[in-house]
């Protein structure tokens, strides 16, 4: 489930001293103590949020509903990375399907000590997507990929849709060249050699820009100074 921003229309607070006649305060909490007309209460639904690790445990036990919950949590992000690399919804959907089916078939490949479930699924998906772009066998599929995009637009898109303020700030903290090289490599599905060609910059330079940028992001997003 992705949180969708909506416009706001907040009302003023109910004042704490708003108390209908005939009701006393709860001496323990100093709050009004009121009993509701409870027979009218209808609980429409009841739900809990298991952790990612709990869901993976249930997938190991072949519980499809837990795979569905994992899909609800991360299917959109998996699609986002596949669609950016492949720029073709049909190919991207294939990658999403392959990613979740492969996870269903061997869920114990996920090791929570190594990273989040989102990371694990995106690692599978990104690898598959670049395989489609690069491998000889998928030449026919590759022909469905539109030509090189405008990478400044890709970068803009990444910056607009980024899922938290922390990440936006971390990306803004990069040198412009570092950010561009990382976006082209990861979201463009390019090797650093291809990035260099695209930018008309020396390969070694692009390599160090990606490295330096990723290390800065590691400090700001993972708190790790490499």
């Amino acid at each position: 489930m992705v949180i969708t921003p909506q416009r706001t229309s907040l009302r003023p607070l109910v004042r704490p001293d708003y108390l209908p006649a005939g009701h006393s305060r709860n001496p323990k909490t100093d709050t009004p103590d009121l009993v509701s007309q409870s027979d009218a209460i209808r609980l429409v639904t009841l739900t809990t949020q298991p952790t990612d690790a709990e869901l993976v445990g249930r997938v190991v036990a072949r519980d499809q509903t837990s795979l569905r919950e994992i899909y609800d949590r991360f299917g959109g992000a998996v699609m986002a990375v596949a669609q950016r690399v492949l720029r073709n919804p049909t190919l991207a959907e294939d990658v999403v399907q392959e990613t979740f089916v492969s996870f269903w078939n061997s869920p114990d490949g996920f090791d929570p000590a190594r990273g989040s479930l989102k990371t694990y699924l995106l690692t599978i998906a990104h690898r598959r997507a670049v395989d489609v772009v690069r491998s000889e066998e998928s030449r026919a599929r590759r022909e469905q990929i539109p030509p090189d995009p405008d990478y400044s637009r890709v970068e803009e898109d990444v910056m607009t849709k980024v899922s938290s303020e922390t990440v936006r700030q971390a990306l803004n903290g990069l040198d412009e060249n570092e950010r561009r090289a990382i976006v082209m490599a990861y979201f463009g599905g390019l090797t650093y050699v291809e990035v260099a060609k695209e930018l008309g910059a020396p390969e070694g330079t692009v390599k160090s820009r990606i490295r330096a940028g990723m290390r800065k992001l590691a400090v700001n997003l993972q708190g790790v100074d490499l």
Binding site: M1, V2, I3, P5, Q6, T8, S9, L10, R11, L13, V14, P16, Y18, P20, H23, T31, P32, D33, V35, S36, S38, R42, V44, T45, L46, T47, T48, Q49, R62, Q64, T65, R68, Y71, G75, G76, A77, M79, E93, F100, V101, L122, H126, V158, V162, S163, S164, E165, V167, A185, Y186, G189, Y192, V195, I210, R211, M214, R215, A218, L221, Q222
Partner: protein
């Protein structure tokens, strides 16, 4: 460990799948023996994942996934609907199990107004703060569901800062009515966390103390101290 100092330089690029095949292959064989490089790779992969936006998942793609895995599990019948009902419980059980009277107590602190620090001055800022709070250890995250569709998400950080983020699926009420958020305590008392309005947007609240869940109700405009019992949805922490 020969080659480590040269190969460790390739790890950030490998995490982005940005190496040439020959370089990738030589790093992969080094990774088998080098825990330091594996640990660094984990960090970069987590970083890359953080750059990817959480977009809404497409239901038709799930249908394909479900069809594919159901084929692979021939002979094993999973009744999706029944399994879900079992896990979530009969929607009306909680009410029956917890006896007739639910006390609704108004605490009077809380919501409605935005906290005055950076990032929370816009709806997008509140949503972004909620999303990053949801990823913090110890955070409670729950979705209010109506007919299996999330109408709002609640996030409560370990520090007691809470967020309620409605989705497009939440119906707009008549202006004479309002949505109201309640915190359910372990001793089955509902305490108002704030009045959200007839057409709520992202909002913040604060809550310190034990918590058993949240409830979302419809009330008369302005809010009430005691719910009339028109409950939209309940989240219970188990």
């Amino acid at each position: 460990m020969s080659g480590h100092s040269r190969l460790v330089e390739l790890v950030p690029l490998y995490a982005l799948d940005a190496l040439d095949p020959s370089e990738a292959a030589s790093l992969e064989s080094h990774l088998e023996d080098c825990e330091a490089c594996r640990a660094e790779l984990d960090v970069h992969r987590n970083v890359a994942a953080q750059l990817v936006p959480d977009e809404p998942p497409a239901i038709h793609v799930w249908d394909r996934i479900e069809a594919a895995i159901s084929q692979g599990d021939e002979g094993e019948v999973i009744d999706f609907g029944a399994e879900r009902a079992r896990r979530r419980g009969n929607p009306f059980n909680w009410m029956l199990a917890t006896a007739a009277v639910v006390a609704l107590v108004f605490a009077g602190v809380l919501v409605g107004q935005r906290l005055a620090f950076d990032g929370l001055s816009t709806d997008e800022g509140v949503v972004a703060a909620a999303e990053s709070a949801a990823e913090e250890p110890g955070a409670l995250v729950g979705d209010f569901l109506v007919d299996d569709v999330a109408v709002a998400r609640v996030v409560l950080s370990k520090d007691g800062l809470g967020y309620v983020i409605p989705t497009d699926a939440l119906d707009t009420l008549d202006p004479s009515r309002t949505y109201q958020l309640w915190v359910l305590t372990p001793d089955e008392v509902a305490i108002s966390a704030g009045v959200l309005g007839a057409d709520p947007g992202p909002a913040t609240f604060t809550w310190k103390g034990d918590i058993a869940g949240f409830a979302l109700t419809r009330e008369v405009a302005g809010g009430v101290v005691s719910s009339a019992g028109d409950v939209v949805s309940v989240i219970l922490d188990t």
